[in-house]
Symmetry: C2
DNA sequence: ATTCTTATTGTTATTTTTACACTTACAACA
DNA sequence: TGTTGTAAGTGTAAAAATAACAATAAGAAT
């Protein structure tokens, strides 16, 4: 999130964004906002929804085409622009009243993310290359806001056949070391296409 | 579909649309296109996707916020505007090359409709108030482009508990008369909300 | 050697899905 | 009036998916 430094909604928190240039496609415009603040490129990004109420910006007609992205926060390297712009990462539970209709945009994004996690595989964009099944399960639990049975989750995700088990385990953990897995990227993307229901 | 009467793409078929006025919200703008051509109001309508490629319109930058709707064609009363505008209803199989990127828009709509039929109940907007289970099944078969087993479909749809059986049957049909059903509108809409998977 | 913590594994009961065929009701026709 | 054609309506069994549930294993810390 970004803290605004000008009216209207001065000092309010807002979702980062920018105007789209006359000769700029929509998705590159969104990508460039992401890159300028996080340094990230070639990240999963999907159009969310277009918000166009006449009065959503007090100073004129602004139509916002919102995109959402899934980023692994550990890969983010804050850029000079992000320091200058007063960027912060907020937990969903700590979201205050935002500028403009941005709470509505965020609500739509959360709804979409839940639906996505409910019906499609998720995690490729959010986890390190190597991860344990517990990490993957906790990701789902976080997004879906419910706990999942360890054994049933394991069985279900393995049967999807999108994981490759590695010959490598955790080290220096004060408990039994967990095996690492990685995604079979091609199979992962196949299941992400339309027509397949995950049902987690 | 509408036949264009001006350059560019003169005489090409296109998806109906209009410019959004400076003081007009997006959804009313879409509704008003629908109403002017079909007379229909208060119809299910959902934002589909926003198309914004720089070069999608040869004469300038046009960003299209596409909406799709489900209409019962028997309720449509062609308006004077629709005659003037050379409106026609086309089967999906008869779609020619369209103006601009409209084939792409249509493909997105079909994809969305299939996903919707696959995961949510459908039919309230498309069928007469009273309908038979065969009609409902054939609607699903048409959208999903596959045949569904009569008995299994019946069992599944009944268990969803969104139908109300009427004490009325078909008349003057040269076979056993089918019972009419109607939707339990409230339950239907509950299941249409996020978080529920239909899986047909 | 004991303790603490998380990983890993299997079974059973229940529910859901799939595949599949015969009888019934009605109109049309001979 | 009975024969034919057509779509409606119905049941069952096998297979698959889901849900609920607890004990053992591995490694670090003490």
């Amino acid at each position: 999130m970004i803290k605004r430094g000008a009216e209207p909604f001065n000092n309010f928190i807002a979702i980062p964004g920018d105007l789209v240039a006359e000769d700029e496609d929509l998705e590159p415009a969104a990508s460039s906002v992401l890159k300028s603040l996080t340094g990230l490129e070639n990240i999963f990004m999907e159009q969310l929804y277009t918000f166009g109420k006449v009065d959503r910006h007090p100073q004129g007609r602004i139509i916002t085409v919102a995109y959402y992205t899934l980023v692994n926060i550990e890969e983010v390297t804050p850029t000079p622009a992000s320091f200058a712009a007063d960027i912060q990462w907020l937990s969903f539970d700590d979201i205050p009243q935002l500028a403009f209709d941005h709470n509505e945009i965020l609500a739509k994004a959360i709804e979409r993310l839940k639906w996505r996690a409910h019906t499609k595989p998720i995690g490729l964009e959010l986890l390190p290359v190597k991860f344990t099944l517990s990490q993957l399960r906790k990701l789902y639990e976080g997004i879906l806001e419910k706990t999942l049975d360890k054994r049933n989750f394991r069985r279900k995700i393995i049967k999807m056949d999108i994981l490759i088990a590695l010959d490598e385990k955790q080290k220096n953990v004060a408990h039994k070391a967990a095996r690492f897995y990685k995604f079979d990227v091609e199979k992962y993307h196949n299941l992400s296409k339309e027509g397949y229901i995950f049902s987690m």
